[in-house]
Subunit: 149 residues, 2 copies
């Protein structure tokens, strides 16, 4: 992403933050938190991350996953998986990690991995703005980027 | 932090990730997830964040908080609060946000804020490596940095 696009993304973020409040009778603002479970109820397709927040150039995304994803890697960045509800696994070429509700894992940059979930699992991802879900792999499961919910 | 220190921090991170596995009888590795609640049981002091993971130059920290923190801001970075268990509020000069379990808020960079919790609340923070908990404010509640749990 170009510096101009990063700047635009940040301006957009500021607007979102300022929009999310109500004004009380005394003139003070009550800002609105982002509720992970409420956001997850707003979509039901699998392997299609939705952005819920941005911190500097990093985005927090929610996704519902079920079945097997594709082998892929992200050449330039680590990627964080946090399980909000359910169970999942991430396969690596030399093993795997199993994650359940309230657990987190950092996939190091450049490491090939394949997420999977036997039953539907709801997760939060943290990664830099612009990361494509299938890395350099492409294919049918490649999701549109920067879709907010 | 100097580039050399960032490089050292990343090398240290790689070692941590590689250390956290068991080897199965077939030679494959079973990597170990980071369980937020288990990590939180390992310390009990308030306002003293512990690092549990690092993604690129960003750290994920857990903290127990109770009472009122100090007014402060972070001039160079946004800061993410996620409530793992409990209720908290973040005061701003023009209002506040109330957060409960499973809710997230991004405090924009440069914005003065004061976290507080009536009863003990357990939270996860996400921010760049090296951010001091009291920002430029200092004082008795300033915690040591980069303490892992």
């Amino acid at each position: 992403m170009s510096p101009a696009n990063v700047a635009a993304a940040k301006a957009s973020l500021s607007i979102r933050l300022l929009d999310r409040h109500t004004t009380m009778s005394d003139g003070s603002r009550r800002y609105l938190p982002i509720n992970l479970r409420e956001k997850l109820e707003r979509f039901h397709d699998h392997w299609s991350p939705r952005v819920i927040a941005q911190m500097n150039d990093y985005q927090f995304k929610l996704a519902r996953i079920q079945g097997e994803f594709v082998w892929h890697s992200h050449a330039d960045t680590d990627e964080v998986f946090i399980v909000v509800d359910g169970e999942m696994a991430i396969e690596f070429r030399d093993g795997c990690v199993e994650l359940k509700t309230g657990e987190l894992f950092v996939v190091p940059k450049g490491v090939e991995h394949k997420p999977r979930a036997h039953s539907e699992c709801r997760i939060m991802l943290v990664e830099p703005y612009g990361v494509v879900n299938t890395g350099g792999q492409g294919g049918a499961l490649t999701a549109p980027n920067d879709v907010w919910v």
